[in-house]
Every structure is written in C-alpha cells, then in structure tokens.
Symmetry: C2
C-alpha cells in the first residue's frame, strides 16, 4: 500500500522552521523553552500563527465550541478523514516540542501530500486540541475530552483557573469560541506523533516507538498524623512518628514497583513535614503516591497491596491516615491495526522500532474512545520534558514525521 | 543532715503565684503560653519583676557583662555559695514553666530559708542566665556558657540576631549590661530544677527525676541530589531518586536507634522535597538527622554506622550526598554526689524517683564545667514543652521545689 507513495517525504527544514517560529511565541528569555498556557495571549498568538499556515494551504478550518481547531484537506469522496494532531499549549516552563511537534508534523504531512499532487480516497485532517496540559485549567486533555464526547461543552466552558478566570470567557476573549459542534465528527482513524517525554528510546538506541496504549494512573495523597514531640527527650518506643511512616511507605512503593516489574512504576514525588524542625518529631506529614501500569488488573493488585501496607504500618506506629484520591484513570489500549501500521512503516523506512506504552496522557487516548487510534514516539534527549531544556534531534523529528506521513497514507487507503 | 531542717517546706501558693505573674508578661492571647525572647522588651519586663522579688528579700544582686543575674543570701562565712537557677527567656511560643520554674523555685527556696530564720554555713544563690533558649541569639545557653568561661564576653556581646540586632546593644538598651566580671565566681555546687520536657516521668508514674547528665547531640543535614524525571515515563531501573534515599535513611535512623537501645534516640525531623510534585521524581531532597546518646563512645559508633549507611544507599541509588554538621556536643555527666543528694532527698520526702538523662540542653551543663552539678526533673504533662500547652501539675511543682530545698540545704552543709 505504502508503495504507491514510496517517493514521498516530508521537508525537514520547513518543519524545523515552523517548530522554531511557533517556539518563538512565549519564548522564555535565556532559554530554548517557552510558555503558552492555555487560552492566554501567548496561546492566542500561537493559535493565530498555526491558523495562518493552515489557511495558506487552503485547508477547510473548523473551530468548535471548546476552541479545538481541525483543518482538513478534502479527499476524493465524502468519507471520514484520517486525523492527526496534538496540542500547542505548554506548561509554564515548557519546551517547543511537546504537543507542537504533533501539530506541525501533521501540517507538514498535509503540505507534502498537497505539493506532491497526490489524491487520496479519504480526507486528511490535522487538529490542535485546547488545554491538553491542564496546567491552567483542570482536567488536562480537556479539548480532546470534549471532542470525543467525554464531557459536555457547557461543563467545560464553566471551568475556572486558580485566579477565577473561566474557560468560556477566555475563549471569547481570544476569539476561539467556535461554532463547530461537539462532540466532533468521528475520524476514520487517528494517529499522533509525540516526543516520548521519557528516556526509554534514547537509552535503547531505538528511533521510533510504536505506542500500544497509555498507562493507567492512580494518584493518592496521604496525610499522616502522629504526635509532635522533642527529639531529645522522647524515647523511641513512646513515639508516634508520621515521618517514619511516610519513609517506610516511600520505600515500600519503590520495592512494590520493582517486585511487580514490567511496566509498573511507583513514585513518591511530594512529601511535606510539619513543623519540619531538626529537633522535633513531626506532627503531620503529607505525601503523594503515583502508581501506573498498562494493565488494569495488575494496577488494581498493586493498589491493594499499597493500601494494605499503609494501614499496617500506620497502625503499627500509632499514626492516623487520611487518604484522598487525586486521580484515577484506567489504562487505554490503542488499536492493533494502527499500532501495526506505525511499526511496519517505520521498519520500511529503515528505523528501529519498539512497542511501548505511554507513561503520560495524550489527546490520542481521548480519540481512542471513538476511532482506531495509535501514536508514534520519537526520543527525548535525556528523557527530559516539561522543562525548557526539552530537546529532540532533527534526525529523529524527520524520522517521526515521515513515519506519520506513511502511516496516514496507509490508513487513508485502509478500510477497517 | 536534712534532719536539721526537717520541718522546712516551700510555700506552694506563693511559688504558683510567682509563676503566674511572670507568665503574664508576654502572655500569648487566647493561650496559657507566653513569649519573652531574650533581650526583648518582654524579657526586660520579666527580668524587672524577678529583680523586684529578689530585692524584696534583701538579696545581694550582681549583674554581669552578659546580663546574667545572681542573687545571693549571705551565709555564716565567706564561702562559695550553693547555687541554683535557670532562665526566664522563652521560645516564641513557649510555656510558663520551662526555665521560669527553676528560677522562681530557687527564689522560693531562699525565701523559705530566710523566713524560717535558718542560718547556713554557706551562702545560697539563685541565678537567671541570659538567652538559654537560643531562640533569638545562637548559641543557646549563651549566658551560662559565658559565666562558666566557655566563651569570652567580647565574642558573646557581638552576636547578632536574624534582624541584625546585637547582644551588647540589646543589653544596654534594656539596662542589663552589668559590671560583675565573667567568668563568674565558682559555686560550691549547682543544682537546677526543671520540667522534664519529655514524657518519661509521666508515663512511668514517677514524681522526681534525678538527672544524671545531658545527652550528647549529633545533628547532620544531608542534601541528596539525583535526577528529576517524569514519574510516568521513567522506568524504575533508570531513576536516581533522592526521595527514595531519604526515605531509606529515615527508616534506618529509626532502626539504628532501636538496635542500640538504651538512651539512644534518632530522629529525622525535617525533610524537604524539590520540586515536590506528584508526578515528578525529585531532583533534590534536604533532610536533618538528630542522634543523641548519654555515652560518647556509643554515640560515635552510631554516627559511624549512620555515615556508612548513607554512603552505601546513596551510591547504590546513584544519588550524590552533601553532609553538613549542624551541631555536635559531647555528653555531660553530672556529679554523683549531687545526683545522690537529689535522689536521697526525694525519697526522704516520699517521692518516687528515677535516674535519667536529660535529652535537652540546660544551663546546668555549663555550670558542670566548673563545680559539682545536678538537676531535678518534674513531669511535663503529655511530655509537651516549647509550646503554649506546656503544663506541670501544682503537686509536681511543690514536690520538685521541696526536693530542691532539701538538696540545697544538704549541699550547703556538705564538703566535697
């Protein structure tokens, strides 16, 4: 199938230039990073720039009620499009690749097809979804969630940021409260290119990740309350030390993840001691626990072991525990046919590939609710993301964009 | 020996009244606590009140260059006095017993002796020492340190608080930069009454602690540096997690203290994660470790085991360690003859007693450098101190003050 378009390749210089130009908007002085929080003036400027490029290609542009922008190159018939996309909002100290690469590589794929004069049986579409990062408005992946019908538009428009600004008002203010309906039209298939945001590909020397799905996420906040007392005058046996309980839980989370192995990860990222003084046994410790696995059954087993240990160790040390679920998402499995297409096209182009889960959330997981979906990962240098030092090599960007091109062409001529 | 003065007893109501009146100065509204940081206006007001009471008894009052106040009731001959005392400065949110009890009970002992018309071969003296808490000017126990010759007056006068105020200037300002020389005259013996500030006596149902000495203290701050990374996308084996290392050290400190047993205590009171986010493996963790023992050889063995463990676990996890010694004091042993006197007199009065170390520092440990020294402990309710809820039962205050009275009388007629 791909043989029909065997000579097509994206223009790497043009794609890199687009990435640089978009990265200049909201650039953080003295760094290569940028800040374009969702629905801010910087986000508007980034949106306007990408829209200019979409218009230059003569694409059909639709903006829906939550500000998602979908640009479509018509196909031969009136069929559902093969869609790609991602987001162009960033975290407060972000890089210029996370999200941006998926949108601009999608645009590059369409420009390549248009310039080659290739006509396809199905339309190709590229989207950018509103507020993927969730760094300003919770939850994250808001735009794609509404697109896929996972949240009603009215609810999404009423969400406030920490300063009380409202999504609907901010969309009006920047001119992106569109009229296209939500949920959006169902694509024929969806495939998204994204940087890995982790170290696995780089560490293994692999060029292309064929993403099999997104890990399930379980976030818990524990507040441990004991008895503050004098570190010098209180015998060990008379203590109720929540810091000790927190430490044992932190070590247990690590040991538990290693015991289960595979895709299981466990992290204690935040811990706060009160009163946090050298000579006082703490009265209260707050900590977070982040557990993830690609398999829901395994993740539940890990959660159960974790919960039992917390109860045991807290009771043993005479410490009270308050638990709060911060987030819980089941794992998402992508479509085998899309995963295979990514893998096959990467190999045809001579790249090494690995099937892998995504540890982070992406718009693709929302689209997977409504159509066959997959993702293409390219390496992140040192595994760093959500940081101004985020970087992906031009050769990897070229590889990823060409795999996206081939996969979209194949999906456009494949019936499921 | 005590038989000679067998009928003497302190006036509990008078002592409680004095404690209440002194506690009213700097009282913290809505609590039973008070705030009289060293050399503040509140400290001056407290000093002035206690001086009034000293003058009312016709005592010989000497104020030295660091603001220590020593009030003496003359004896029959020109001999060194039996001294008692403590401090009347408090922490920012302190109680009305810590320090205050030792000074006012000493004054009560002298008033009792004077009113009974008893003449002793040696003078009795009661002192309050400047800046015992160290809550405003470091180091703590500053006044008694200078009295005992452990620091030159000039150095002490130049110490600044966190706002740049200088000890010498503040002494001048409140009118307590005296002319009596430092180091001060060597007492015949020194015995100090203090609340335990821990839960041991209350827990064991013991009335009087005969303090054998002060624990040695070893304080270390560790800064652990690893690699910040994404909690979802970074496999366990590729992490360098300083939070995990901190947790293992915290648990080890507890296990180590339990393994050594006896007087050994170990505490991780402070821990700070950076960046302290639920989904980010921390880049850096700072923590403190407080190790104490009454025996220097054992304390050194514990420190060695601790240091070796820190190196091992940090290397195993690929985390860098920076160590900073925050404090290191060797244990202090009080004088057997004073300890025995406290114990004997408590038993003669019908109180249960226990020999015990002090986990906290006290002026007595400075005086022990120059004369036979001991301390009397009375229970702290719930072991709480340095807190507005600090409390000791009137019956325990009465017991402690009468033991102090008997012990001072005995020491006044004992040659060493």
């Amino acid at each position: 199938m791909t043989a029909d378009y065997g000579s097509l390749a994206i223009d790497t210089d043009r794609l890199l230039r687009h990435l640089a130009e978009l990265g200049d908007i909201g650039a953080i002085p003295g760094t290569t990073g940028c800040a374009r929080l969702a629905l801010t003036d910087e986000d508007k400027a980034g949106r306007d720039l990408v829209l200019t490029w979409m218009r230059d290609l003569g694409l059909d542009i639709r903006i829906d009620g939550i500000g998602n922008v979908v640009a479509t190159m018509p196909g031969e018939g009136d069929l559902a499009p093969v869609m790609t996309g991602s987001h162009i909002d960033t975290v407060a100290t972000g890089g210029k690749y996370d999200g941006n690469l998926g949108v601009l590589a999608g645009l590059e794929v369409i420009e390549t097809v248009i310039r080659a004069g290739v006509e396809l049986p199905r339309p190709l579409a590229v989207a950018f979804f509103t507020d993927e990062e969730g760094a300003r408005f919770a939850p994250d992946m808001l735009g794609s969630l509404v697109y896929a019908g996972g949240m009603a538009l009215e609810g999404a428009l009423g969400i406030e940021d920490s300063d009380g600004a409202v999504v609907g008002d901010e969309l009006e203010r920047i001119g992106y409260r569109g009229t296209a309906p939500t949920p959006g039209p169902t694509p024929h298939a969806y495939v998204e290119l994204h940087i890995e945001q982790g170290p696995v590909l780089e560490d293994a020397g692999i060029g292309i990740g064929a993403v099999e799905g997104v890990q399930g996420i379980s976030w818990t906040e524990l507040t441990l309350r004991g008895q503050s007392c004098h570190a010098g005058t209180t015998p060990m046996r008379m203590r109720r030390d929540p810091g000790l309980v927190a430490a044992r839980i932190c070590a247990f989370v690590n040991d538990l993840a290693l015991e289960f192995g595979g895709a299981q990860v466990g992290t204690v990222g935040a811990m706060t001691f009160r009163p946090n003084l050298v000579n006082v046994v703490p009265s209260e410790v707050t900590m977070t626990v982040d557990l993830r696995n690609t398999d829901e059954v395994t993740l539940r087993a890990v959660e159960a072991r974790f919960a039992a240990y917390v109860s045991d160790v807290a009771e043993r040390e005479g410490v009270d525990v308050e638990r709060r679920i911060l987030a819980r998402f089941e794992p998402v499995d992508f479509d085998d046919r899309v995963i295979e297409s990514v893998e096959r096209n990467a190999r045809d182009l001579g790249y090494s590939t690995r099937r892998m889960p995504s540890g982070a959330g992406h718009d693709a997981q929302m689209l997977s609710r409504i159509c066959p979906t997959g993702m293409v990962f390219v390496p992140s240098v040192n595994g760093i993301s959500h940081n101004v030092t985020e970087y992906t090599e031009p050769s990897d960007i070229e590889a990823g964009a060409n795999v996206l091109l081939r996969t979209m062409l194949e999906l456009a001529t494949t019936e499921f």
